[in-house]
Amino acid sequence: MTLHIVVTAKQVLDPETPLSAFNVADNAVSTAGNIPPVVNGYDEQAVEAALRIKEAHGDAKVTVLSCGTDFALDVIKKPLAMGADELVLLQDAAFENSIDPTMAVAALTAAIRKLGDVDIVISGRQASDWDNAQVPLGVAESLGWAVATIGRKVDVQDGTARVERVLPDGHETVEAPLPAVVTVSNELGTPRYPNMRGIMAARRVQPTVWTVADLDLDGTASPAFELVSLKKPERAVQTEMIAGDDDADAGRKLALRLREERVL
C-alpha cells in the first residue's frame, strides 16, 4: 500500500522583511516594495520530513495542501521542486488569511477527507504570520486523529508514527497510531534546496485547485474571533550607546556605566 503523506504549507509574508518595509495600517499587514512571499519556514521543514519518510519507505506519495486566496505559483510550487508529488491549492475568497484559524482548519480538514486515503499529515509547528500554532491541532481534532507536535525526527512504521519531540530541556520519543497529524520544528534541520531537475519538474505540474464548491464545509464552526485592532507595538526604550576610544575602551566603559546604574 502506498503511504500517502499530506504536507500543509502556507504562503506567508517573508518574515525576514526589514522592519522599515513592514507596514501595519487599517487592521492589515503589508510589505513595501516587491518583497515576494515565501513558503512558511516550518512548512518547508514539514516537506523535508515527508521526503525523508518517502525515501525511507520507498512506496509513498507526498501531496502538498495549501489554503489561501492569492498564490504566487513559483513560490507555492517550491515543495514540488523539493520533491513532493502533488500540489492541491484550496483557493477561494472565503479562505482569506485571517487571525481566526477556523476557516483554514475547516478547509484543510475537508480537503484531507476528500483525498480519502491519507495516512499522515505533516505540518510546520506554526506559521510566521499569525503565530497561532494551532491549525494542525485543529485539523487533528476535527478528523479525530492522533497528534504529535514539535518533532525533530519523524518515522513511519507498522501503522504508527514515531516522533522525536523537542522539549525545553531535552527530547522525548512518542508513538502515535496512524492516521495522525504531526508538526515539526526547525530542529529537524535545514530543508533541502530544490535542484535543477526538481525545478523543471515542478514547472510542468499543474496544481489541482479546489474552491469552496469542491469541499464539504457543512458544519464548519462559526468564526472564533473578531479583529478589534492591529498595530505596531510601541517601544518605549531610550537607548544609551556607550562609545570609547576603541572597542575595548567601550567595553570597559560599559561595565563602569552598568555599575553606576547599579545594574551590576
Binding site: R162, V228, L254
Partner: protein
C-alpha cells in the same frame, strides 16, 4: 459553577508559576468564581497554594495518564473541567503542555484559541478581549472572542501572580472523566545543563550568529558564572549546532525576564525579542550600529565582541574585586 477556568499545571508540588499567573489574570477580569484544573500526583497538596493564589475551586486529578502529563488525557480532563465548571472564560498558558492542550481544547469546544496573549480583558458586553503579538512580535493584535466559551493562553511572565493569601478558602474537588490516550510517550531524555536554569536566572548572557562558532560561548559561560547567571542563545546559534536547542530564547524558545540580559552578536529579530524584551535591563553588543537590537536595548556598544567583551569582563573583575 465558575465563571473562569484556569487550565493549570503542577510543578514541584506547587502550582506552576504560569498557573498562578493565569489565576491572577482571571481575577483581574473581575469575575466572581475562578476554578483551576490541576492534574498531577501532587494535585491535592498544590490545591491549597492555588486557593491562596486566588482560586475558589480546584479540580484535582491525582493519578492516571492526565496526572502523568499525557497530552491526550489532559485534553480530556480539560474538556470535562469546562463542562463541570460551566466557565465562560478558559485560560491556559503557552507552556510545553499548554502549546498542545489549549488549541485542542478550543477546537473541541467549537472555537479557536487566542494563543500566546500578553493581556486579556473584558469589554462592556462581557466578551473576552485578547491582546497578542503576531508576525513574530512585529505587530500586536487585539481580538474579541465570539463563541459562548472564550479560550486563551497567556505568554508566561506577562501577568504578575497575586500575593499568596493563606486565609483564602476554596473547594477542592476530584475531577472525574474518561481518558482516551492514543499518542504514548516511549522515552524521555532530560538534557538540563548544570548551573542556574535559564528561565529563572537573574542574569542571562546570550549569544547569536555573530559569535561565529561554539568556542566563544565559553566566554559567555565565564561571564554568566561571574554574574551568577545562565547562558542563552538566538535560534541561529542553536540551528548552527553551537549550543543545544534548550538555550534558545524567543518566540519558539524560552521566555526569560532577568534583571539583566546581555545580547552578544544578536541582531534583535522580533522573534528573538519576544523571549527577552521584558528583561529589566537589556544590554547589546553588536558590530552593526544599525542593528535592530539597539532599538530595544537600554545600553548598547556598537563594536566587535571579540574586543568589547574581554575588556568588559576585565573591568567587571576589577569592580567586583
Amino acid at each position: 459553577m465558575a465563571d473562569a477556568l484556569i487550565i493549570g499545571e503542577v510543578s514541584d508540588g506547587a502550582p506552576a508559576s504560569a498557573t498562578l499567573e493565569g489565576i491572577a489574570a482571571a481575577r483581574a477580569l473581575g469575575v466572581d468564581q475562578v476554578a483551576v484544573l490541576m492534574p498531577g500526583a501532587d494535585s491535592a497538596s498544590a490545591a491549597s497554594a492555588a486557593i491562596a493564589g486566588g482560586a475558589d475551586i480546584v479540580y484535582t486529578v491525582a493519578d492516571g495518564p492526565a496526572a502523568d502529563g499525557e497530552f491526550d488525557a489532559l485534553v480530556d480532563a480539560a474538556q470535562a473541567a469546562v463542562t463541570l465548571s460551566g466557565a465562560r472564560y478558559v485560560i491556559g498558558a503557552k507552556t510545553l503542555t499548554g502549546r498542545d492542550v489549549m488549541p485542542r481544547l478550543a477546537f473541541r469546544l467549537g472555537t479557536a484559541l487566542a494563543s500566546d496573549c500578553s493581556a486579556v480583558s473584558l469589554d462592556d458586553s462581557g466578551r473576552l478581549i485578547a491582546t497578542r503579538p503576531v508576525y513574530g512580535g512585529n505587530a500586536e493584535a487585539s481580538v474579541a472572542c465570539l463563541g459562548s466559551v472564550a479560550v486563551a493562553s497567556l505568554r508566561p511572565k506577562s501577568v504578575d501572580a497575586l500575593e499568596s493569601d493563606a486565609s483564602r478558602s476554596g473547594e477542592v474537588l476530584p475531577l472525574e472523566f474518561e481518558a482516551n490516550v492514543r499518542t504514548r510517550v516511549l522515552e524521555r531524555v532530560e538534557e538540563a545543563g548544570e548551573g542556574v536554569r535559564l528561565e529563572n536566572a537573574r542574569v542571562v548572557v546570550s549569544g547569536g550568529r555573530g559569535l561565529g562558532g561554539p568556542e566563544p560561548f565559553d566566554s559567555l559561560r565565564e561571564l554568566a558564572n561571574m554574574l551568577g547567571g545562565a547562558v542563552g542563545a538566538s535560534r541561529a546559534a542553536c540551528d548552527a549546532g553551537w549550543v543545544p536547542s534548550g538555550y534558545q530564547v524567543g518566540l519558539t524558545g524560552k521566555t526569560v525576564t532577568p534583571d539583566l540580559y546581555i545580547a552578544v552578536g544578536i541582531s534583535g529579530a522580533s522573534q528573538h525579542m519576544a523571549g527577552c524584551s521584558n528583561s529589566r535591563t537589556l544590554v547589546a553588543i553588536n558590530k552593526d550600529a544599525g542593528a535592530n537590537i539597539f532599538k530595544e536595548a537600554r545600553f548598547g556598544v556598537a563594536g566587535d565582541w571579540q574586543k568589547v567583551l574581554p575588556a568588559f569582563m576585565e573591568q567587571l573583575h576589577e569592580l567586583m574585586g
